[in-house]
Symmetry: C2
Subunit: 340 residues, 2 copies
DNA sequence: ACTTTTTATGCAACCGGTTACATTAATCTA
DNA sequence: TAGATTAATGTAACCGGTTGCATAAAAAGT
């Protein structure tokens, strides 16, 4: 039905091997022959059948990004979207394509995505640390199957991984508040079962220590993802007899909710209280005042992850790559104290 | 290196054909034989090589979603992200995988994605109407290659397509303002070169006509995507000697910017002016007051598009499928007048 | 001019499944 | 129970490229 390499070979008066070599820019072929073959291809409207190509050399030129997003929260959080965009941007000019798999739509045992590996559907995987499973990792390493983890894994894993520098993020945001003369600085994060939240807290504590502040357990809270959570956490703080005058939030939406609570109490931002948040998602610019945030460059994270993976695919190595990306603070209205 | 069908055949004492039939759940095979083969597979840790499978039957079980997102705007707009999520959700349980291609990272002639089709890398395509090109469409139709367009194309195209009902969206949003006793209702949309904006305007005009309102050219504006655009457009309205008291925006962010301008003028929302926007993106809930929006169900759009495509892949038909999805209004703070 | 080396091309096996067709085993019919 | 029909399995060609090895052609060496 389609035009095959045989048709081209016949039309150009050469063998299929020669046509194949032209396709692959082998440097064995004479310019004249190349020319002949190219012409034949053009005349016949030939395109190489990619499935056959993959079959012959046992690779697909596809890599997959595995995500685990839940429906309700999916669209508030552009996390994977930005990473995805970065990956695509990097691999596409190199002739690779990106496949997206959401583990949650497969809903088996949390390793359904591993079919991609077992069935050789892709040449490599990028997956979030939350989907790491000991057995699967062992199998992939045995077969030298390339994969890169997004997020720092527990140190029992020696794999390729990449993450933003969460400790640094915790430290610079806290330091920023300290430098703006806030004195009682609180820290509100997601679950500290997650290593990245532990690291963020670590950064917060480091900053306090460096400036001679004592950490105060009352000012360290855990849990919360939503605007509503932020609202109620803030109100809990207000019930304390000595509430914080500065808060580091590790989530934009939580900060957004806290903002409402603060306004309701008639407390001035940033004069009476300073706020810093993480993840410079678009919402951070929409509040009034705009939220000071740690900007994590997820586009770059995607690019770096992809680069790491392609390196592994193209020249497999036994030493694993690891990378921590710097973050920077974007100073906005919630932390710029007029004076004091 | 890997375990192949031959190994399984030998271990089970049957032919490769039988193993293949077991793999494909052919109903020719005896339960006993099936059992034998399954056991052999299990013992050997066999997984079918998917590349070989694809090669044998010339399909990939992959479909691609082609997008065209520009970097700066990419993350404000979860448009494709939600659609993508819907597609993935639909196709995954049916054994298909999703590939994502961003035309803008390929940056050739706007049809770089067509390689996917020519090289048979995927079984079908879902692409936005903005990427439609006459010649390419002709070629794809000649070869009966399945594809679905997101967005209503100009009527010179007879293809499978799906869109939200933009006229309905324009009409219900306008009607809602009319019913809330707003009298001078403006309409602010993106470029009217795009059919969907024409349709939205059409809906607006229809609603006005149904309620005996005369359209007023001063109240119909075009252009703008950002918060800043919304801010300046709103200020232009305020310069008019008879500004609107109700506005339909076709973009969340534009409405967000307009909101700031309105507040600065000390005008009360929703008592003095009512706002409705399109696209119920997460930001709509973050403003104060929250923005009344037309909710377009992009998750469903993705699901429907995928369903359309798989239908086309599984049983090709000559009659094209078209679908307009209903929209609904989510009433929030910017349009709930206390009384009048 | 004749061997030796290098370069360009062809031959054919191979990648791992699928499936049309052939063959054998099982079941049915009279 | 032989003969016809149906069900289960096997044989081998095929999908469309790639590539090791053989060979032919060209270039270099003596």
């Amino acid at each position: 039905m389609g035009v095959t390499i045989k048709d081209v070979a016949k039309a150009a008066g050469v063998s299929t091997a020669t046509v194949s070599r032209v396709l692959n820019n082998s440097n064995l072929i004479t310019p004249q022959t190349t020319e002949k073959v190219r012409n034949a291809m053009r005349e016949l409207g030939y395109f190489p059948n990619n499935i056959a190509r993959s079959f012959a050399n046992q690779n697909t030129y596809i890599i997959a990004l595995v995500v685990d997003i839940e429906e309700p929260t999916a669209f508030n959080n552009p996390y994977f979207y930005q990473i995805q965009y970065g990956i695509e941007k990097y691999i596409c000019p190199k002739g690779y394509y990106l496949m997206i798999v959401n583990e949650n739509t497969l809903n088996h045992n949390g390793t359904a995505f591993s079919k991609l590996f077992f069935e050789k559907r892709v040449d490599g995987l990028i997956l979030p640390v939350s989907l790491l499973h000991k057995n699967l990792v062992k199998k992939m390493e045995e077969q030298k199957f390339p994969f890169v983890i997004i997020g720092e894994p527990e140190n029992s894993y020696d794999t390729n991984w990449i993450d933003i520098n969460n400790k640094m993020a915790g430290e610079i945001s806290t330091t920023h508040l300290i430098e703006n003369q806030y004195k009682r600085i609180a820290f509100v994060s997601g679950s500290r079962k997650d290593l990245f939240n532990k690291n963020r807290l670590d950064g917060y504590l480091t900053a306090l220590a460096k400036h001679g502040f004592q950490p105060n357990p009352d000012l360290i809270k855990e849990g919360g993802f939503s605007k509503e959570d932020g609202y109620s956490i803030m109100n809990e703080f207000f019930k304390q007899n000595n509430p914080p005058d500065g808060i580091v939030f590790t989530d934009n939406l939580v900060a957004f909710g806290a903002l409402s609570a603060i306004k309701e109490h008639g407390i001035k931002i940033p004069d009476d209280i300073g706020l810093v948040s993480f993840d410079n998602f678009p919402v951070a610019e929409l509040s009034d005042p705009q939220i000071t945030t740690v900007d994590i460059d997820l586009l770059d994270l995607g690019i770096q992850a992809a680069s790491m993976l392609l390196k592994e695919i193209q020249l497999p190595s036994t030493t694993k790559q690891q990378s921590l990306l710097s973050v920077r603070l974007i100073k906005r209205g919630t932390s710029k104290r007029s004076q004091r």
